[in-house]
């Protein structure tokens, strides 16, 4: 297949434009995961460990938001950040920062909901021991988050995978600007529509490779944890 071999050649040649797009994709999605982790890990942990009225409803909502369609998130963030919108004065629309924000909004529910489940499971296991040691509420959260670290890294990897693969949110809030907000997914969409299939396929190959790498890491992590930590 002619296009396939030129795709491979493009990837292997280290074409700077291609790799600039890959670099931006990674920076945007990793930053989004960082932000989402900052909010989602403690939030999930807190919901897991505290009783409050409406808790069951909050959990249902959180789980439901895991399935937020990326385009809808993109639209919502777009309306917020547009110059005519409430946060317009920040001038963030059509910048990578807007893309990070949109992806962070997209994956925070995933991280929070999965953290909530994990911490709740761990707590039911650890409850008696930690109470017998007189562990206070804040310490309890830190202890459980630390002890669940392998499971939580897997959760973060899942969030990263979701962010790196989506195209709707970053297209709307980023504008797919050449050299500035063009990431792998939006570039693939554009190049396919322009008929430039080798470039689209080259990016596709890299994107698939990244997704495989994420899943392999998650699996390897679980395996390592079983063997080393038990």
């Amino acid at each position: 297949m002619n296009e396939g071999s030129s795709a491979l050649a493009l990837v292997l040649s280290g074409d700077p434009a291609l790799y600039a797009i890959v670099r931006l994709s990674l920076v945007v999605s990793l930053s989004a995961v960082g932000l989402a982790a900052l909010v989602g890990l403690p939030l999930g942990g807190l919901i897991a460990l505290t009783r409050f009225p409406g808790r069951a409803g909050v959990i249902v909502l959180l789980n439901a938001f895991m399935g937020l369609p990326p385009v809808v998130v993109g639209l919502a963030v777009f309306l917020l950040l547009s110059r005519s919108g409430p946060l317009g004065s920040w001038g963030l629309l059509f910048t990578p920062t807007a893309m990070v924000i949109a992806q962070a909004v997209l994956i925070t529910p995933i991280i929070a909901a999965l953290t909530r489940q994990t911490v709740e499971d761990y707590w039911s296991d650890y409850r008696d021991e930690l109470n017998a040691m007189g562990v206070g509420p804040l310490q309890r959260l830190m202890t459980l988050l630390y002890d669940a670290r392998i499971a939580l890294v897997t959760v973060l990897l899942a969030g990263f995978g979701r962010a790196a693969a989506e195209v709707g949110a970053v297209m709307i809030v980023g504008g797919n600007i050449n050299g500035f907000t063009r990431v792998m997914t939006t570039a693939i969409a554009l190049e396919t529509s322009k008929g430039d299939l080798p470039l689209a396929m080259g990016l596709g190959l890299i994107l698939i490779a990244i997704v495989f790498a994420i899943n392999a890491s998650a699996w390897a992590l679980r395996f390592y944890a079983e063997r080393r930590i038990g």
Binding site: D128, A132, G134, V135, G230
Partner: protein, 238 residues
């Protein structure tokens, strides 16, 4: 600051419709090891968890040296299936020391001493969740001792251990008792009761039927249920 005596007054514990403990009145004082015995389902675990302050009675009161505050001050507990934190043996112990309020600079030294005492020094860096059953109980014991407890509550700690591990743990318990720590322990191994107990509390279907020094209980049980229990019979009616 003390947790003794532990006074249970008219304590009942119900879960939904089921009554697990009824009209329990007991004072746990300084002295020899107090053993709580009885058939399965008699409420021993619940009793110990109430005494530890992990759960609240449905009716009645529990106080520790006169205080109703259930936060554990000078007491520690060892469970039948202890939960190991996902860290090394040393990591677990350092954590227990930290939670017990031991100053940072002293933790390592205490840790080494405790590991030495329970015989786990060689396994300090082993992931705690990969210990054998006997080793886990030793670590749980060390974690409990890290709190410099006045009272040590143990819930059938040797129930799943083989004889040599049981022996090792019993030695640690006896040693703790001789150092002045009050032992409050559940067991359904009568040999163990004979070896370690100072006095015995006999529980049957959630009520204390007898409470006596161990020799008296073993030689002259006052109730039919206690006699049946000592004979090794299954007691099925009230």
């Amino acid at each position: 600051m003390s947790d003794l005596p532990i006074t249970l007054s008219n304590v009942s514990y119900r879960v939904g419709e089921t009554s697990i403990l009824r009209d329990v009145n007991l004072v746990v004082r300084t002295g020899g090891p107090t053993f709580v015995v009885g058939p399965n389902g008699s409420g021993k675990s619940t009793f110990l968890r109430l005494a530890m302050g992990l759960i609240e009675p449905t009716t009645g009161t529990i106080d520790w040296a006169g205080s109703r505050d259930p936060a554990p001050r000078r007491r520690a507990m060892v469970f039948q299936q202890p939960v190991m934190l996902r860290r090394s043996v040393m990591g677990n112990l350092l954590y227990a020391l930290e939670q017990a309020g031991v100053e940072k600079s002293l933790r390592h030294r205490h840790c080494e001493e405790l590991l030495q005492k329970v015989g786990l020094s060689d396994l300090a860096d082993r992931p705690a969740r990969r210990l054998s059953g006997g080793e886990r109980q030793k670590l749980a014991f060390a974690r409990a001792l890290a709190r410099s407890p006045e009272v040590l509550i143990l819930d059938e700690p040797t129930a799943s251990l083989d004889p040599s591990a049981t022996f090792a743990l019993e030695r640690l318990i006896a040693q703790a008792a001789s150092e002045g720590i009050k032992i409050l322990m559940a067991s359904h191994d009568l040999g163990q009761v004979r070896r370690l107990a100072g006095d015995v509390v006999f529980l049957h279907r959630g009520q204390i039927l007898e409470s006596a020094p161990v020799q008296d209980f073993l030689a002259q049980p006052r109730t039919a249920q206690a006699s049946a229990f000592l004979r090794g019979d299954l007691i099925m009616e009230d």
